[in-house]
């Protein structure tokens, strides 16, 4: 995705907060300020935060639905083809296409496919795995998985200007503001 550039390159500016409320507050302020390319990091999910960053509808449920349907059709199709077309055999006097007996497997296939698409879909949409990420360059960011809350304004943002942005973030009474290098 990124084109070649020579580091050090500024990924964005990061502000660290003590508690979730502060972060949510900061996020709101930042959007009001007109920043678009922002992201927030917290050690546990904060619903309000997601709203603050701007709601966007997730396509994940659709992915799962499709996955489930595919699994369902594939599962039943396989059984039908095997028992009625590929090698029809009289089993205990039952008809070749004994649909009631095919329900359990169809169900399991549905669930399996749906579940797989849920997990893989989530990872894909989140762009995971991504072991390397610029924010990790900030030493204190390790606390993002413990008890600290971070807000990042990315340099991709139209309004981004390293000094102005830093200044703005300082106004949000963060514990500390750092430049995220890439």
């Amino acid at each position: 995705m990124r084109t070649m550039r020579t580091p050090p390159f500024v990924y964005g500016v990061m502000a660290e907060f003590e508690d979730p409320s502060a972060l949510v507050e900061a996020a709101n302020r930042t959007r009001e300020e007109g920043y678009q390319k922002i992201d927030a990091y917290s050690p546990f999910p904060i619903e309000a935060l997601h709203d603050a960053l701007g709601k966007h509808h997730s396509r994940l449920p659709l992915v799962v639905l499709i996955g489930g349907l595919v699994g369902c059709v594939a599962g039943y199709g396989l059984q039908y083809w095997v028992s009625a077309i590929a090698y029809p055999i009289n089993v205990g006097g039952k008809p070749f296409h004994s649909w009631p007996a095919f329900i359990p497997v169809t169900f399991e296939c549905t669930i399996l496919a749906a579940a797989l698409s849920a997990v893989l879909g989530m990872l894909a949409l989140n762009g995971l795995p991504m072991p390397y990420h610029p924010v990790f360059n900030v030493p204190r960011f390790a606390l993002a998985s413990r008890n600290r809350f971070f807000l990042v304004i990315e340099s991709r943002d139209a309004k981004f200007d390293i000094d102005k942005t830093r200044a703005f973030l300082e106004t949000l009474k963060p514990r500390e503001v750092t430049t995220v290098e890439d």
Binding site: D39, P43, F44, E47, H50, A101, P104, L112, A118, S145
Partner: protein, 466 residues
């Protein structure tokens, strides 16, 4: 929707509302919760007790390996099975383990959907327990075959013979159900682990730890958008796992209900198997939770509240199971079918009467003590009852499998079954396997979901517009 992990009301109020002890002791912060739980994993020295426990379990694993090797060399004839009783310990243990494997997913999924915040501190190792139980269970259908090396024939794949599995057979349903269940449970467990893996990555003192946990965490950084999709996915999984968990034991019960064997061929089986599964599952969670919280000093996280709730669930499911026994007998009588009628009679008066009596005692009589608050409040008593229920549920499966088969239609073919040394060795061996895996889990992964614990802390509450 995404409130899933966040208590929709202040836990303090929740306590007030539901009465009884809180789901987490007061005075904890994000930091302290994180440190306390991750410390168990990240500690440098491994406690001696862990070593002892693990080595014991590992010894039993070797018993398992030996008995499986001998089995492969000689054949299933080393077990006590015969004609008419073609299924013995192998299937009994299979159903027992699978049943135990139900609590994890149930606690994680169903309680999640029901927004039961008390689940948070037990779901992690309940899920782990599920995985380990299922892997023990999965072993038996394989090794109980006359020619286990051909097990892959049960899987549909294009082969040079142009033949396929026979999809009318419940055993094929089993293959799909159990493998699906294992896969989904694994994913559910792993997805839940991701944020905690990130925590371990960030806190691990050793480079190796950072790298390994880092790889597993897949670069999780707690981005708000990620959290959003993460919760959707988690909820969807929960929604899928719930019918799955019900279907799995239903399918397992089909192994019997589909057959025409009197004592098996009954419609009550699916619900009563599922209830039994939850019953035994919670019993096993209690059996494990009680010592673990004591040993690792987690009483603050796994509080009396949890134990009491699990006790209540056991009481309910236990009653459903008891009801199952009643209906089974009633239907047998009501059917007017001489073969069906004979089964309950034979269970009560036949050569296996003692086992049946023990079953009723363990599964129906003793658990009634749980009606008493005093009992629910006494940890040791709960522990004992949980173990008794585990035994009882094993006996139930023994009764279903053996007493139905040993005297079916033609009196001329009536026979008996009794396990051999190798039956026992294999069974004990799987218990060893289960414990060994559990010990490894306790040592290398957070046994309580840190992220979710943070979410139920009071300080996690966000006051808007400050």
């Amino acid at each position: 929707m995404a409130e899933g992990l966040v208590p929709n009301e202040d836990p303090g109020q929740a306590v007030a509302a539901s009465g009884g002890p809180p789901v987490i002791a007061p005075g904890y912060t994000f930091g302290s919760v994180t440190d306390k739980i991750s410390a168990i994993v990240l500690t440098r020295g491994t406690p001696l007790g862990w070593w002892l426990g693990f080595l014991l379990a590992f010894a039993l694993v070797n018993v398992l390996l030996v008995s499986i090797t001998y089995l492969l060399v000689k054949g299933v004839g080393i077990w006590g099975i015969d004609i008419p009783v073609g299924w013995g310990f192998a299937i009994v243990n299979f159903v027992w383990w699978i049943g135990i494997g139900h609590a994890g997913t149930l606690i994680s999924a169903i309680l999640l959907l029901l927004k039961q915040t008390w689940r948070t501190s037990i779901n992690r190792f309940a899920e782990a327990m599920t995985l380990f139980a299922v892997s023990c269970a999965g072993l038996f259908p394989l090794i109980h075959m006359g020619r286990p090396w051909l097990a892959y024939w049960m899987v549909p794949y294009p082969n040079t013979m142009g033949v396929w599995p026979q999809f009318r057979s419940p055993l094929v349903w089993d293959v799909f159900a159990v493998s699906t269940y294992a896969t989904v449970s694994l994913m559910f467990w792993f997805v839940g682990l991701i944020p905690d893996l990130a925590t371990l990555r960030d806190r691990s003192p050793s480079r190796a730890g950072r790298v390994i946990y880092g790889m597993l965490a897949m670069g999780w950084r707690g981005s708000a958008r990620h959290w959003h999709r993460y919760e959707i996915a988690y909820l969807l999984l929960a929604g899928l796992a719930t019918p799955l968990v019900v279907s799995v034991h239903t399918v397992v019960s089909f192994d019997f209900a589909i057959a025409i064997v009197p004592g098996w061929h009954t419609t009550i089986f699916p619900p009563y198997f599922v209830a039994g599964a939850i019953y035994s599952g919670f019993a096993m969670v209690l059996t494990l939770a009680i010592p673990i919280r004591a040993i690792y000093g987690l009483e603050d996280f796994i509080t009396m509240r949890h134990l009491q709730n699990m006790a209540k669930v056991m009481l309910v499911t236990g009653l459903i199971v008891a009801y199952g026994y009643l209906v089974e007998a009633f239907i047998a009588w009501y059917s007017g079918d001489r073969f069906e009628r004979f089964v309950p009679f034979n269970r009560v008066t036949g050569p296996y009467a003692l086992f049946y009596a023990a079953l009723i005692l363990c599964n129906v009589v003793i658990p009634q003590a749980l009606w008493l608050k005093r009992v629910r409040n006494s940890v040791p008593v709960l522990f004992v009852i949980a173990i008794i229920v585990n035994v009882g549920m094993w006996l139930e499966r023994f009764i279903i499998v053996v007493t139905s088969l040993h005297r079916d239609f033609l009196t001329s073919s009536w026979g008996m079954y009794s396990p051999t040394f190798w039956d026992w060795a294999t069974f004990v061996g799987t218990i060893g396997l289960f414990l060994a895996l559990l010990f490894l889990f306790l040592r290398f992964l957070p046994m309580i979901s840190i992220a979710e614990m943070r979410a139920i802390l009071p300080e996690a509450k966000v006051e808007e517009g400050r």
